[in-house]
């Protein structure tokens, strides 16, 4: 063991295979550039020449230099990470403050036998560190060494001051992330994951279609092929009898949606295969992935907000999703959807109560009915302006869009119906959404600041919006009670604040 300490007590470089990994990762871009620049001889496009020069002179040597100048060491009291080619940066992470160590591997890293080690601390992002990449067994060793160092520090602190109670020591040393041990709260079989993929129903074709289009049209060569293909297709469509046009376009649309659905299923299967949620002391550990292995740690004391989400299709099968939001530090920003991907309502609520004791209220208070009016006007503007423009510039038949107005009104009513809130038992419940239905649960003691906001238009109707700000990184809608009576809003503000103060007094 002492040898291990010695090994890590001096500056070490990352694993040399990191370089190969970087090369592999950039291979598609490098190949495309090389192909277009050298094979296709599109030399009139200066862009590719620049890219080639950039590749040869900057990116590849940059990789090597960065690797050469990156080193880390694990001392008795702190982890030191040095990086930077021109501007040297030294990051000291006190071992005392280390909360979790996450080890992650994707497919390529798995083949190469390397892993990423993320060191998370309680507190700000500036004291977090990531080692990309070390050998897998080194990752385990690093984990072990840091854990033992921390244990020692805690023991020493106890010897000298002898203030911290024994139970505290246990919980503190448990805030590490060793291999998966603890009670399995939830796991998914292959079939479960497949079902999850089926009901996610994300409009992937819109997102990735747009992305692919914008990416591909950057290259003249590709975009020529594509536009040629589109022209041909359109031409062949034009030759078809007119009666077939409508059924064909409907069929095409259905095909696109089905394709996107299948892609989503495959994608979800690869990502979530073998999903397991384990409770280990005061933290949750999630692991999942078929080709890539991911293990994410959620320290429960840092839990900011819980969301139970579903959509109309999921409801048909009684399926719900649980999302856990922790403080918005680096790692979680990319991985905010920690929790339970899909479970039956009863199971989900049972697991949720293991994570955080929650009693879902039976009824919710509606927001003001005047919100319908506001939403209607807002939607109407979005409908009318493009329509008026089309009418003015193209033809009168765009006015037929006016028949959508009742639909727009119905949308506004739906939006109002599905919104609700409830404050009880030191928990704030906010629900919203018709398609993406979400119930957000915010523990009162997690609030950071509270606001009541009233825009000019809201004030005319006597409305206001309550905003509950926590440290969770979530979308702006999830901790907001919009469009309630202005007096109620102020009352709620005071009520929540009072609850917060009481709760924090109890804790201290």
């Amino acid at each position: 063991m002492t040898e291990l300490y010695e090994d890590y007590n001096q500056f070490r470089r990352l694993h040399p295979l990191t370089l190969l990994y970087g090369l592999f990762r950039n291979l598609p871009y490098i190949l495309i550039t090389l192909y277009l620049g050298l094979v296709q001889k599109q030399t009139e496009e200066l862009f590719y020449i620049f890219m080639l020069i950039f590749l040869g002179m900057v990116i590849i040597p940059g990789h090597i230099l960065r690797w050469y100048y990156f080193s880390y060491m694990i001392g008795e009291n702190e982890i030191i990470i040095r990086s930077g080619v021109f501007a040297r940066k030294t990051r000291n992470i006190p071992i005392k403050r280390v909360q979790n160590i996450n080890v992650k591997q994707d497919v390529l890293q798995r083949i190469l036998g390397i892993a990423r080690v993320q060191i998370e601390t309680a507190g700000d992002i500036s004291s977090e560190g990531s080692l990309d990449f070390v050998k897998l067994n080194e990752a385990d060793e690093i984990n072990k060494v840091i854990r033992l160092h921390k244990q020692k520090i805690i023991e020493k602190d106890n010897d000298i001051e002898n203030i911290e109670s024994n139970s505290d020591t246990v919980s503190r040393s448990e805030t590490f992330n060793p291999t998966l041990s603890g009670d399995t709260l939830f796991s998914m079989s292959g079939k479960d994951v497949l079902v999850y993929g089926m009901v996610r129903l994300r409009p992937l074709f819109l997102i990735y279609g747009a992305w692919a289009a914008s990416f591909l049209t950057q290259f003249k060569y590709v975009s020529n092929i594509v536009s040629g293909y589109i022209e041909e297709t359109v031409d062949s469509f034009a030759d078809l009898p007119i009666e077939l046009l409508l059924p064909l376009s409907v069929a095409f649309l259905i095909l696109t949606v089905v394709m996107s659905w299948i892609v989503d299923i495959v994608w979800t299967f690869l990502q979530y295969y073998g999903f397991k949620l384990v409770k280990d002391g005061n933290k949750l550990v999630e692991s999942y992935g078929l080709l890539s292995r991911n293990s994410v740690t959620i320290p429960l004391p840092k839990l900011q907000q819980i969301t139970i989400a579903t959509n109309p299709v999921k409801i048909k099968f009684n399926f719900y999703t649980l999302l856990l939001h922790t403080a918005g530090f680096d790692v979680y920003k990319k991985n905010a959807s920690s929790g339970i991907p899909l479970a039956k309502k009863e199971d989900l609520l049972e697991i949720a109560s293991d994570i955080y004791p929650v009693q879902i209220p039976e009824s919710f208070r509606n927001i003001s009915r005047k919100a319908v009016r506001r939403a209607f006007v807002r939607y109407l503007i979005f409908l009318i302006i493009p329509m008026a423009a089309a009418y003015y510039m193209i033809d009168w038949y765009f006015l037929s869009g006016l028949i959508l107005i009742p639909l727009v009104y119905y949308g506004a009513v739906l939006r109002w119906q599905y919104r609700g809130y409830n404050i009880s038992d030191n928990l704030i419940f906010v629900k919203h959404g018709f398609w993406n239905q979400k119930l957000n649960i915010i523990p009162v003691d997690k609030l950071q600041t509270l606001h009541v906001r009233a825009s000019f238009f809201q004030r005319r109707l006597g409305l206001a919006t309550v905003v509950i700000d926590t440290a969770a990184s979530i979308s702006a809608y999830d901790a907001v009670i919009p469009d309630i009576d202005a007096d109620d809003a102020v009352m709620i503000l005071e009520e929540i604040n009072e609850a917060f103060l009481q709760k924090s007094r109890v804790i201290n």
Partner: protein, 157 residues
Amino acid sequence: MYSLDPAVKIIWGMGVFLQFLFYSLLLGFTEFFIIPSNINNWIVPQGLLALIMFICGIFLTFIIPLLRYKYWKFQVRNDEIYLERGIMTRIKTIAPYKRIQHIDVQQSIFERMAHLGKLVIYTAGTRGADVVLPGLPIEYAEDLRDKLRNLTNEDAV
């Protein structure tokens, strides 16, 4: 409820004025040098938009600080600081002392001349995380900072 120090109106006014000066210079520059003059003159005489912008700016230089001052109220309560502000969108904010991670007094050059300072309260929140209390007499701001500093909580997540 306290109001801010009235001198803050001058500082705000300067801010608004400088902002509009910048925009009207930018607009004027665009009109004279970037848009070809034959096109520009066809729509409006060259420089007119910039002039209008500048006149509006002078007008707002007086109006905005007055309104902003009128609606800016704060209260230092036992457990929290309470603010009210906003001309078009009115915002009421509660920032509990328990949630203060860090607290600062900042002074711009104009504020230094007017012996004013602004108290900036940093929390771990993600939206509108930093609560700013402008236009306080500098001694008061510093006293408040020292008083609140004792109540801060570094690990407030």
